[in-house]
Amino acid sequence: MKQGSKEHSPNHSPKKVLVIGGGIAGLSAAWELARLAIDVDIVEKGPFLGGHAIGFCCKATDECQKCGACSVAARLLEVVQEPRITVHLMSELKSVTRNSTHRYVLSKRPLYINPDRCTNCGLCFDKCPAAGAIVRGYAKTGTSLYAINEAQCLYFKDGTCRLCQDECPEQAIDLDQSARQVSGEADAIIVATGFQVFDAKARPRYGYGINRNVITALELERMLRDKAQVLRPSDNKAPKTIAFIQCVGSRDHQLHHGFCSQVCCGYAMRMAEAISHRDSGVQISIFYMDMQNCGKNFSAFYERCKEHVRFVRSMPGDLFQGEGDQVTLCYATERDGRPVKKPFDLVVLSVGIMPGASNVRLAHMLQLDLDKHGFFAFTDPMDKTTTKQDGIFLAGTAQGPKDIADSMGQAGQAAQRAAQYLGVMACLK
């Protein structure tokens, strides 16, 4: 991987693909293309590669649960070692003009932390006085493991604090760097901009943001990843009872979200299994409408889960602060519809996959259509990578909800289509 450098290796191929998004779909598409000796530029808006999935936890019990989180780390490592792939972090597409190729301009914000100097000592992270102003990544990708979050950093707010820059023993931090523009040319484009997580506050009856012991499943993923255990936010104690509520934001026609997010049942069941494997004393309930399949041989997996997890087919109506720090769920029992109130130590909202925040802007720039839910629309139902623009292809959750395995599969398909479009696949003719 090259860090945004413009020089080319002497045996560079004349073909180049621009991949928008550095999550698992973008990484997979880039990797497949590079293996066909096609140069790739990845544009990533954040300071790290790997998208949402790089922060997911391993959900193994004694056995792998096939969530695919480790595949993301493995793919990232392959991309980082691949010289044909150039990565532009903190970058966003400003404009694209199309002639025979796509000429594009990127706006590139600085990394502020010089990767050549940073030793990942973590002093900046530990000393920073503003919560969330210095963030830590999940994998080493040739840049610093730490990044400055301008939105929280006091320096960018009012210029009052430069503690990290002053404290860094390697003088690796320079907060005075400014954004710049980079332009380039690509023969094809793959849109792999991913998704945004449903904002649980948009379903106010679950009290997210009000009740501290109501968290999102993504927060649970991160907690398992960062702390290797589950702790209740209010008192940092291990919960004895946990409730997952499924379909938060998905399959919700009131919100015009008439689609299934396809991943929530899988992650809820796998995390429930992982948690009860570590502590068999934890009682976990999953409240659901319809359990969706995940992975291969789902029937067998579901039966195994039923040994440790209580599945309740009922969507809780209300939720309120119970005794102590508990959260009380009100729901109708499955058997006779009787209303019950049951307290839980921790409630996890299985938030769904929503269209990316920049989809509208990007669709306008690339002259693509969005579907009625706001995901990028495909034109051929037999090949969901296709768009109405020749030479522009879709991969991953930019096109619609999918899990890691499906995102990787669609990325391969998009790479194959792009290579075919560039004439690279007509290798023996």
Partner: protein, 565 residues
């Protein structure tokens, strides 16, 4: 076309080898036809073997009515008429020998047997639909149909379908009550129910376990069907079914109206299970590739995503690896084509001359390596030969070889032993321990643990191995002889080993080592096996610190104490 990058083997001598650019496709269904079409388009030769007498046919995930038959037929015609394809119908694969780029496939057709040379293999067997009527306790009658039979009735037009004609009738579907359904099966049931519902006088009702909607557009279809009047009852248990000839009554407790419901449908439509092709087991055996718990031809292991098998040069697509829709099968087809292109390129490939060496003087031709290789990379040519194209460098053969006759080029025993001896020369007061770490999991976790995980034990030395299956009992014993206090062998979780069995071999070797320690009077707790993933740095810290605590309790190893004295 690109020159294909070499595998690993930094600094190892490389050579260019010829690759056969003809690809064998097994299965003449729509996934196989799609693979053939894409490969022909790129100029590759294709041998397509189909055990049945015809190509194409009804797609296994869809009724004919729902696909664009014209487009499919055009695709099939273009494949049939292409140059560079040989279509073998009524032909079964008997065996596959050789190495990626130079396979020999043996077939049987009408009692005759013959061979073809191919560079790669794509398995594209379709699935079969199996009626679950018997599982529901139903005996055949004219008003009891499988999902496929109903689709045929619907497609044939109402005039020819007296079953659905003649006044008001109730049509009842049973879905996902004997086993979990799939979105593919769910879509078919909903489509049929909609079609029935939109026919005058008919009422469609679906009894279902979980409504499977995890597929693009299915929630919308489900909503549309309810708006059009299709009734759904979601059941948690299989309903009670009584049958007296054509008279069927189905009773269950409904959780919405909280009462017992009895339905007497005029027509009953029973779901079908989607099972592997009847030949899947034979084909898997002939190719030497592993199956999953349901018999599909790809193990349930994320390292094989999307279309890889445990053998290099053999790829598995769509319905051959899991129940798939036509579009999913085609997505896989395109992924497999990408793999083929990366493997065979323009007919040459640069590979390391050797990835593993067999010492001819030491080899006693016991064939252990041949048997244990999870990648089918070792073949027999009057002596065992390790194919550098097929070899994944896991080293399981090297560690299992009873004569120590095999050395990996990148991980030689003497290199690893040097590292073990270095590890005992740290001069740390506390426990000295060595962790053998699989490069795919524990080694990566260790790298991150050093940065973010908090302090690691001072006396810990990490030794990277290509797979935990490479860890020889000798390594463990060498470590103890050199005076370490404890040894950890850290492998991938079960079902997550890139070499399928490497973690199991590692665990067995640790058990062996524990026995040996016991015999020589050392505490067995000084050696431990554990599983971990690459993204678990905290788990790495936990395991190593726990080991440190244990070793602190046990004190220094008697060998270390002896050496100090």
């Amino acid at each position: 076309m690109p020159e294909v990058a070499s595998l690993s083997g930094q600094g190892a001598p490389m050579e260019e080898i010829p690759m056969d650019t003809t690809v064998l496709i097994i299965g003449g269904g729509w996934s196989g036809i799609k693979v053939a079409h894409e490969l022909i388009d790129m100029g590759y030769g294709v041998v397509l073997a189909e055990s049945g007498t015809a190509m194409g046919g009804e797609p296994s995930g869809h009724p004919w009515a729902s696909v664009k038959k014209k487009e499919l037929t055009a695709l099939l015609d273009s494949v049939k008429e292409a140059d560079g394809i040989e279509i073998l119908t009524a032909t079964t694969l008997v065996s596959l020998t050789g190495v990626p780029g130079r396979f020999q496939a043996r077939f049987e057709q009408g009692g005759e047997s013959f061979e073809r040379a191919v560079g790669a293999v794509v398995v594209a067997l379709e699935t079969q639909r199996v009626s679950l009527a018997e599982a529901y306790g139903l005996r055949g009658d004219e008003n009891i149909l499988t999902q496929s039979q109903l689709e045929h009735v619907c497609a044939s037009g109402k005039g020819e379908a007296p079953l659905l004609g003649g006044g008001s009738k109730d049509v009842l579907f049973l879905v996902g009550l004997q086993q979990e359904a799939s979105p593919v099966a769910m879509e078919r049931a909903i489509q049929s129910a909609l079609q029935v519902q939109c026919t005058g006088g008919l009422q469609a009702t679906i009894l279902v376990g979980n409504v499977k909607l995890a597929q693009h557009g299915l929630e919308t279809l489900y909503k549309e069907s309810r708006e059009k009047g299709v009734l759904y009852f979601k059941l948690r248990e299989t309903p009670h079914i009584k049958q007296n000839g054509a008279d069927v009554s189905i009773s269950f407790f409904d959780n919405v109206i909280h009462d017992q419901v009895v339905l007497r449908p005029d027509v009953l439509v029973v779901e079908e299970a989607i099972r592997p092709h009847p030949q899947a087991s034979d084909v898997g055996q002939a190719l030497g590739i592993d199956r999953d718990g349901e018999g599909f031809l790809q193990p349930d292991n994320v390292h094989f995503l999307s279309t890889r098998s445990n053998r290099e040069g053999i790829y598995v697509v769509g319905p051959a690896r899991l129940p798939s829709s036509l579009a999913q099968g085609w997505k896989d087809a395109q992924n497999a084509v990408l793999e083929v292109c990366q493997l065979l390129g323009t007919g040459k490939r640069v590979v390391p001359k050797e990835k593993a060496k067999i010492h001819r003087g030491k080899c006693t031709v016991c064939l252990t390596c041949f048997r244990v290789c999870p990648h089918g990379a070792i073949y027999w040519d009057n002596r065992a030969v390790i194919s550098p194209t097929a070899c994944q460098g896991c080293g399981i053969c090297a560690s299992e070889c009873p004569m120590d006759a095999i050395q990996l080029v990148d991980f030689r025993d003497d290199q690893i032993e040097d590292q073990i001896l270095q590890g005992t020369a740290t001069g740390v007061d506390g426990p000295q321990m060595i962790a053998f770490c699989c490069q795919n999991s524990a080694f990566e976790a260790a790298q991150m643990a050093r940065v973010t995980g908090g302090p690691l034990p001072k006396g810990l030395q990490i030794i990277k191995v290509p797979c935990a299956g490479k860890v020889d009992v000798d390594y463990i014993l060498t470590a103890f002889k050199a005076g370490v206090d404890g040894v950890l062998v850290l492998a991938c979780h079960k079902d997550n080993c890139k070499s399928q069995q490497g973690n199991t071999f590692a665990q067995w070797r640790v058990e062996d080592a524990r026995r040996m320690l016991e015999e020589s009077g050392l505490e067995t707790d000084r050696v431990r096996f554990a599983t971990i993933a690459s993204n678990m740095p905290l788990e790495f810290v936990r395991i190593t610190r726990e080991m440190e605590d244990k070793l602190n309790q046990l004190g220094h190893s008697p060998i270390r104490k002896g050496a100090a004295a």
